[in-house]
Amino acid sequence: MPPGVLQIKAMSGHAGTVPGRGVQREEEVCKYIDVTTCIGCKACEVACVEWNDMPFQQTSFDNTYQTMPSTAWNYWNLIKFNEHQHDDGTLQWLMRKDQCMHCEDPGCLRACPADGAIVQYTNGIVDFQQENCIGCQYCVSGCPFDIPKFNGATKKVYKCTLCSDRVGQGLEPACIKSCPTGCLKFGTKTDMRAIADKRAQQLREHSGFPNAGVYDPPSVHGTHVIYVLHDITHPERYGGLPANPQIPVTYTFWKRVAKPIGLLMALAAAPIAFFHYITEGPKEAQPPDSGLPQ
């Protein structure tokens, strides 16, 4: 049910304004992630697996604190641990909660050829509908963040839903609920962006991070998951966050414009052949009758 439908409009015998009127200022939601206060406890990873009732399987250890090398079809939320050595020899331990960014302009949705396999809600959540997925994995190459993961057994692709089932009932996503430091917050896009900007300013002015900033990439028209980073000029240090995420042009111009035109041009061969027959006629074997010399 879309938010606002059960909002009370009028009330009998009630003095004053209707309670709750105008509470829903904005429909677009956002997840706020402050990597500077993340302690890498992985409570969000556990909450995600628990809420989504995901089976756990063997993983590989790569000498870091990271649970597995990358997110998986049944592991949508992963803290990426990176040890970055600065030029002056100092070390910075970077932790970033990696999951679907819920782009305002989703590359996965643009790439997908299957009717209704990927939907974008008005609140900004991008959700995969596995019953409509055909397993072609175009979304995998459409995504600039390497998020959709293919399950070879079910031949379907899976990713973080931003807990659309919880958000639809007015609850915050499971990862947000579990975070002990408050580095994860959930609310409207405007609110989260304002908090993030304020926090980045604080980091720049008071905490010695002159390059601190908010990651909300305009190349995908912003995301519904935003990061506060110590150094916005080098997002790739945080486990490969792309500085300028791009959707291949082939998924936009080619699919919507060039494809239908190309198809019509190719099919034009059929009427051309027909009118050739009408105007030039068939090429008969000569002489054009059964006057065979035998």
Binding site: P113, A114, D115, N132, C133, I134, G135, C136, Q137, Y138, V140, S141, G142, P144, F150, K155, P248, T250, Y251, W254, K259, P260, G262, L263, M265, A266, L267, A269, A270, A273, H276, Y277, E280, G281, P282, K283, E284, A285, Q286, P287, D289, G291, L292, P293, Q294
Partner: protein
């Protein structure tokens, strides 16, 4: 596997060639229909229903294509000699306008087993099949190759498909309505002699040892006599 040759006929395509041709044709049409389901949202629902649903369409498409590529590879080996481009083919292309406008009753005397148009069609399909195969592999296994290669492959795959579709439509027209008597070359495997001296005179000369023009003139005279008798 045999070819029945009636009186007044020549063997055009032996059974092996015909079986390969129809294997190519069946796999091509299956690949085309399943591919066009994925190609554009407007064809997705109607065409995917033909293959038992969209996931099944996606599952089958690469296997249909593999069948097409393998059958076509065998046909290429089978036809390497008659499809070889020669200096006569360059001459034929200059005469293309007369061919398309149906200006001349008989093909030029140098036209052998295949004319230059047939050869061009064959090698266009061969080149498109290579592009198809090379671009289709990354689309089949996207995580092995990375985003950029898949995105480029996606466009190349479609361009090859459109090229093939144009060729395919022209091919069907030329093989049926445009030239009566041609279709049976790929079904029963034989053609009438007069079809051979009309469309492929040099081939007629090679297999019968007779002069195509002289035989045509003789047939024309006999027909005229029979008409005057009647």
């Amino acid at each position: 596997m045999r070819t029945v040759v009636h009186t007044g006929e020549l063997v055009r395509h032996p059974a092996y060639t015909r079986i390969l041709h129809w294997a190519v044709a069946i796999f091509f049409v299956l690949s085309l229909l399943s591919g066009f389901a994925i190609y554009t949202p407007w064809l997705f629902q109607p065409l995917s229903a033909l293959f038992g649903g969209a996931p099944m369409t996606r599952l089958l498409h690469p296997w249909f294509s593999l069948g097409f590529v393998m059958a076509f590879a065998l046909q290429t080996l089978n036809w390497l000699q008659p499809m070889t481009w020669t200096s006569d083919d360059r001459r034929w292309l200059k005469h293309l306008k007369a061919y398309v406008t149906n200006a001349e009753r008989l093909e030029p005397e140098y036209v052998d087993f295949f004319n230059a148009g047939q050869k061009l069609y064959f090698w266009t399909i061969a080149a498109s099949a290579v592009v198809f195969f090379v671009s289709g592999i990354p689309m089949w296994f996207p995580r092995t190759f990375g985003r950029t290669i898949v995105a480029i492959g996606y466009v190349l795959h479609d361009l090859a498909a459109l090229t093939m579709l144009v060729g395919f439509i022209v091919h069907i027209y030329e093989g049926t309505a445009a030239q009566p008597g041609t279709f049976q070359a790929m079904t029963r495997g034989t053609v009438e002699k007069r079809w051979a001296w009309t469309h492929h005179p040099a081939w007629y000369r090679r297999v019968t040892g007779r002069d195509p023009r002289a035989d045509y003139e003789q047939a024309r005279r006999r027909l005229a006599e029979r008409r005057s008798d009647a």
